[in-house]
Symmetry: D3
Subunit: 136 residues, 6 copies
């Protein structure tokens, strides 16, 4: 089920084909997952989304690629995004996440959700020392 | 402002004192942040929360301590937890997070929030290949 | 799957029948979607929910009906509500949302999710000029 | 309070100055709100964020500028983003949102939150007719 | 700070005065909290909100008044609503919530947030026996 | 679908078997729901999660067992957790939740979501009287 009909021949549009070609080249795989098939209903939205995902996730940066995938999982799970939890867990495994790291990831993100709930329930005042603007 | 009155003399309770002593010893610092001062209204809740935070965050495990702090930030920000965003960003900086890593963290978690929104809006069907149970 | 058993003969209850009749009359359609079939387990809850939905969504007001549906989609997607994302996207299309408007809606709500994440991560202080109470 | 120290002389960096100049020119105002002052700690992040905000929010598109601001409010409120609720409500007023439209916006987004909660609590099955892929 | 200017003389409007009088009579108190002062900018929204709050929260029903306040806290904290966490915690205390009950409430809602995160991260399939529609 | 492969013979691991035995003894039932089958991929995570769930939910405390289940539902629904909404609604029914109580629960948690949205949209200032630290 989806809210947009899946295009049955997306690559007949040259802008879509160019993005799909770049996804295949970047990932060194022929597989194009549903995210891109469905975004293809609007080539401009497909292009801008892929350009940003590629720049942030597939380009060397200050954080390790696997760490970036785990951060993606943390946000996706907290937002309750079914598709994203699946796709980014699969991606993290493909990038080498071990079962031990996976269990540790679950431990951290579930503990964070728990203490977030406590801090919000208590409406904790922020310790002044945590303020980046006013630290002496 | 808070929903619980801050105890003005929490360490008069020996169970609270024991937890506070362990926090100081574990962190090698005299500073006890508000989370623990306010949880002290219920010594059992204080003990169980600290025990779990120490086990997950202050014990060597499959993930690097800084990575765990960044995951904590990712969840806390997605949950909109003001106190937690402050305390864990401060903790990540104390563990060596550079400005470049901080900017990269922001790029990843904000992109994740964006694509979560797209995937949920499109109600994307999960690609069968992502299913851990049914992969051939 | 659901947490309440679907009533197989809801209209045998006159209060349910009255609501269903009003839904059909208001929408000029015989179709009653699952929301109302399941809420029928408690006629009072069904009545109060339909009364409010009709007053807000099916009554002329300061905002255009299509704009109201798109706002409904924005909230539903942000809350991760599968049923609501589907039903309100279908409703928006029935009220004339074009593919271009749909793509634009996705662009705005995904950008909002992204900058929300940045603002919360940075814990941005609110500019005093934004305060409705204290603007000079 | 914030998690990043506010740069006291951001425009000494030519990349920051270029973005700030474009913000002033686009908005025809000298006022630069805190979002941009704080993002200035990382010029690349500032540039990419402003470029996207300008493209989506300050460029004519399929949706009316005021509608886009109201959608932004809907997402920001649902995400509980304090800064964003303030800044986008101020922006919507600047674009002409009347008190009647504001009240109507509140009615729609609060009703949506309510029925989202009901639909999720009931775990309503999606009516097949809502599926864009399988509609006959 | 707020997004609506607080009306300095709300009771000059007879519809507002009628609601405020009913709040005072229902609660047997002269105190009117900010929620109602700010909603007074739109008398119709004020009326409909108060009518519903009174019907659900101040009318005897299948659940105990204190239980209803604790459920309100659970939702408010999970949504990260600062105002609501404060106002409903104060209301629960006024209705007799003890420190032990408060600590227990925190234990349950923080554990729920933690296991929600685990279930979503694992994308657990729902056990067929949990389905209300298909239980044999 | 899930992100972890379900272990087909979890009780071959003595740590898993011990937890499963305790779940069966505590609940006086042979049924082990999916949460525990999937967590079994990491025996330490399984143990710590079950230990906490048992301590909070299956041990007499200041709140009634059914109230605790309803609080669990409130958090789970607000977080949009499909599995948890199902499992805890089933548990609440097993503990005696009537249809009237269920409808009342839905009324309270959906109203809370609605007024949370209003309070956040208005960015209501917290009434000083609600502050536990500063009440005279």
């Amino acid at each position: 089920m989806s809210t947009i009909a899946r295009n049955t021949d997306p690559e007949s549009d040259p802008r879509v084909k160019a993005v799909f070609d770049d996804i295949r080249a970047t990932r060194k795989s022929d597989f194009i997952n549903n995210m891109w098939h469905y975004l293809a209903f609007d080539p401009a939205l497909l292009e801008s989304t892929w350009t940003e995902v590629k720049a942030v996730m597939a380009t060397p940066s200050a954080l390790d690629p696997l760490v970036k995938e785990m951060l993606y999982i943390a946000v996706s799970v907290t937002n309750g995004c079914t598709y994203c939890a699946h796709s980014h867990t699969a991606a993290a495994k493909a990038k080498g996440m071990s079962a031990e790291q996976h269990a540790d990831l679950l431990r951290v993100i579930s503990l964070a959700a728990k203490t977030n709930q406590l801090a919000t329930a208590l409406q904790l005042p922020v310790d002044p020392v945590f303020d980046a603007d006013h630290r002496p």
